[in-house]
């Protein structure tokens, strides 16, 4: 007997005492099944407090900052200058650029641009100073930005290996209040990276230290009037 059959057989025998008229499982295939909805009582909140769009953006900024992300605000016209200023202040000489990033976001800087290419080695990425990306959405209640690998965000590793990540969030349109609202909008078939502040550890006497393996500096630029898709 294969281990697969062995394990499934053991599971079925173990469940012999469970009543047959029990709640039905989720059916195979896509879509919501009303029968599974009955199986679990979901009387928790979809969001904590009904926030206005402006309040949502405020809460996002506050929670990001609480986790030591550096938050900047600007409008569409000022964005190129803000990004250029951040790169300059960090002393960067090279910047990683996802293929679909809006060209005007980097129009204020003449740094060497390193394209996000499949064939780049990890060592090559390690030599790049900064990376600039867009995001899929941001979650106000938890202070989280989510990247889904779209062309304006690039491969997962480009926001991981360089030590300085600048992420542009279009507000208020890309900001949701809560985790349940975020999951509803995200596509599970894409690889997702949820980021709440820079890399951190609390493994030494539970003292929080920022920056272990991921980027040590996370700068989030909240931009109003950022327009449509990146």
């Amino acid at each position: 007997m294969s281990s697969r059959d062995l394990i499934l057989g053991r599971v079925r025998r173990a469940l012999a005492d469970v009543r047959q008229d029990d709640t039905p499982p989720v059916p195979e295939g896509p879509g919501r099944d009303p029968r599974y909805e009955q199986a679990v009582q979901r009387d928790y909140l979809r969001e904590h407090g009904a926030l206005s769009a402006a309040e949502r953006v405020e809460l996002l900024a506050e929670n990001l900052a609480d986790y030591r992300a550096i938050v900047h605000r600007t409008d569409a016209d000022g964005l190129a200058d803000v990004v250029a200023g951040l790169l300059r202040a960090h002393g960067s000489k090279t910047v990683l650029v996802p293929p679909g990033l809006r060209r005007e976001w980097l129009s204020g800087t003449d740094l060497t641009r390193v394209p996000d290419r499949g064939e780049s080695t990890a060592h090559e990425l390690d030599r790049v100073d900064s990376v600039v990306t867009a995001c899929a959405l941001a979650i106000a209640e938890t202070g989280t930005i989510v990247l889904d690998g779209s062309p304006d965000q690039g491969r997962r590793r480009i926001t991981l290996v360089p030590d300085h990540h600048i992420c542009v969030v279009r507000v208020p349109e890309q900001v949701v209040s809560s985790v349940p609202q975020a999951l509803e909008l995200l596509d599970p078939t894409r690889p997702l990276t949820w980021i709440s502040g820079p890399s951190a550890t609390s493994d030494i006497e539970l003292d929080r230290v920022e920056g272990v393996h991921g980027p040590r500096t996370l700068e989030v630029v909240l931009v109003t009037g950022g327009g449509g898709q990146g």
Partner: protein, 497 residues
């Protein structure tokens, strides 16, 4: 489950040693109290905590009731997304599969994300025996690995170490494993973290094979989820060419939407954060992004035996947040090593004896490693009634009875050490049904009380080794009642006027 630490004594002896280690107690007290207070704040921030907890419990219970169905669904969805699914009935089989998969890549080293499942099966040791080096990349796991030590906490495996001890381990051991610690390393957490960053980065950048566990697996989509803080998880999940994830079969949730519950309760319960710094999800493989080969190894290793127990199966709801450890007065004093398993604390006391069976001395002692104060149940984000399962397992240890082992029904004999307890209970039953004998016995006991020893002789010695004997009153209650007419004539103190 083969994860018993070799030569581990039963819990009372191990704990007896640990409580005399003042450094350990100091480190632990500081750590558990810090995180306990933070967690209470993080939980208080969400007004619907009770509803989230109940939903989490229901999702997990529902999943366990239909586990066969969801396992098959998960296998289909992972395969459809480009992954390969393997099934392992026990630790040995899981280790054989992973070793085979690593060897097939031609590599002799792997980078690892912190994972309870791979610790449980002893994967690092199994790989080492086959000439494959496994590098732990979580900072705390690195401290444990370099210190040739054992983890003592689910979330913070090196919680028993303070900064001075960590500095010494880094300075002494890093050069054995790769890049040495910087000259003049001090014991500030920032410097220690920096030393770990440099040491591990060279390993991440050259790694071809990553090994991980998973916090959740979504049956409907085939998605795996890892939550972490440092970014070492992201490194292992995205830089290598091959990713091997080793996950217990109970880690399934049915739908993508179900994550909305656990991504709210897990971070707040474990690290007391609104959200952990990094959460990664992946569904099979993605062209040109991350590992192009993905293997999922599903392990049973005692989980189906646990599922067969109507009371004990709730332990499989556990999402490994470790909140129960941080509130437990026994854990705080005894430390994680005393539990003799990768799962310490209250959850370990019910999980280990179920996964491994109660055959060994350590496993039969674990259900007693608790004061039954109930704090663990209060904080559990999936409402596992740990005290209920502890009492249930105590009964099993003391009285024996039918259980499932490796999928088959067996009848356990009562554990050896409990003969005296059973004899005492039989004697008590006889005495209480013979009032004359009880009265005579009580009088005798009261009148000889000056001569009573502080500990029990003979088979009772074990019981009184960790307890004080109750003092006997000078007069049995029944005699007092008779003499004073129920307190009405007792020297006028309680008398009627």
């Amino acid at each position: 489950m083969s994860g018993t630490f070799v030569g581990m004594p039963a819990f009372p002896e191990a704990a007896h040693e640990a409580v005399h280690n003042t450094t350990l107690r100091g480190n632990l007290r500081h750590a558990t109290h810090t995180i306990r207070a933070k967690r209470a704040n993080a939980v208080a921030e969400v007004s619907d905590w009770a509803a989230l907890r109940e939903a989490g419990k229901q999702i997990k219970d529902h999943t366990l009731r239909h586990l066969d169905r969801y396992l098959v669904q998960l296998e289909e969805s992972v395969t459809a997304a480009g992954g390969t699914v393997h099934w392992a009935a026990d630790a040995d089989e899981a280790n054989r599969i992973v070793t085979y998969l690593v060897k097939a890549t031609g590599e002799s080293e792997v980078v690892k994300v912190k994972s309870m499942a791979t610790q449980e099966i002893g994967l690092n040791e199994a790989l080492e025996a086959e000439g494959i080096r496994a590098y732990e990349t979580d900072l705390a796991e690195l401290i444990v690995q370099l210190g040739n030590d054992r983890p003592s906490h689910i979330l913070v495996p090196a919680i028993h170490r303070n900064r001075g001890e960590i500095r010494d381990i880094f300075a002494r051991e890093m050069s054995e494993w790769g890049r040495p610690a910087p000259e003049g390393l001090t014991d500030t957490p920032a410097e220690l973290a920096e030393a770990a960053r440099l040491h591990l980065r060279e390993k991440f950048l050259r790694a071809k094979v990553g090994v991980s566990g998973a916090n959740f697996m979504v049956a409907e989509t085939g998605t795996l989820v890892v939550v972490e803080s440092e970014g070492n998880g992201r490194m292992c999940l995205t830089l290598p060419e091959t990713l091997i994830s080793v996950v217990g079969i109970e880690k399934i949730v049915p739908t993508w939407r179900d994550l909305e519950v656990f991504l709210q309760t897990l971070p707040r319960s474990s690290t007391a954060e609104r959200m952990n710094p990094y959460t990664s999800t992946w569904t099979g493989t993605t062209d040109d992004d991350g590992p192009q080969t993905f293997h999922l190894v599903l392990i049973d290793n005692g989980r189906t035996d646990t599922l067969a127990d109507e009371v004990g199966r709730q332990a499989l709801r556990c999402i490994r947040c470790s909140a129960c450890l941080n509130v437990c007065p026994v854990y705080e004093r005894a430390g994680g090593h005393a539990y003799g398993s990768v799962y310490p604390g209250p959850i370990g006391a019910i999980l280990s004896p179920q996964l491994r069976g109660t055959g060994s001395e350590i496993d039969s002692s674990l259900p007693y490693a608790s004061s039954l104060c109930g704090a663990c149940y209060e904080v559990c984000p999936v409402a596992i009634d740990i005290p209920e399962v502890l009492v249930h397992l105590r009964e099993r240890v003391a009285q024996g009875g039918p259980v499932t082992e490796r999928g088959g029904k067996v009848v356990l004999k009562p554990a050896k050490g409990h003969a005296a307890e059973r004899a005492a209970m039989r004697a008590a039953r006889w005495a209480f049904s013979h009032p004359g004998a009880l009265r005579a016995g009580q009088r005798l006991a009261s009148r000889t009380r000056r001569f009573h020893p502080r500990t029990l002789p003979g088979p009772g010695r074990a019981w009184s080794a960790s307890r004080d004997l109750p003092a006997l009153p000078p007069e049995p209650f029944r005699d007092w009642w008779q003499r004073t007419n129920g307190g009405r004539t007792d020297g006028g103190r309680e008398g009627t006027k």
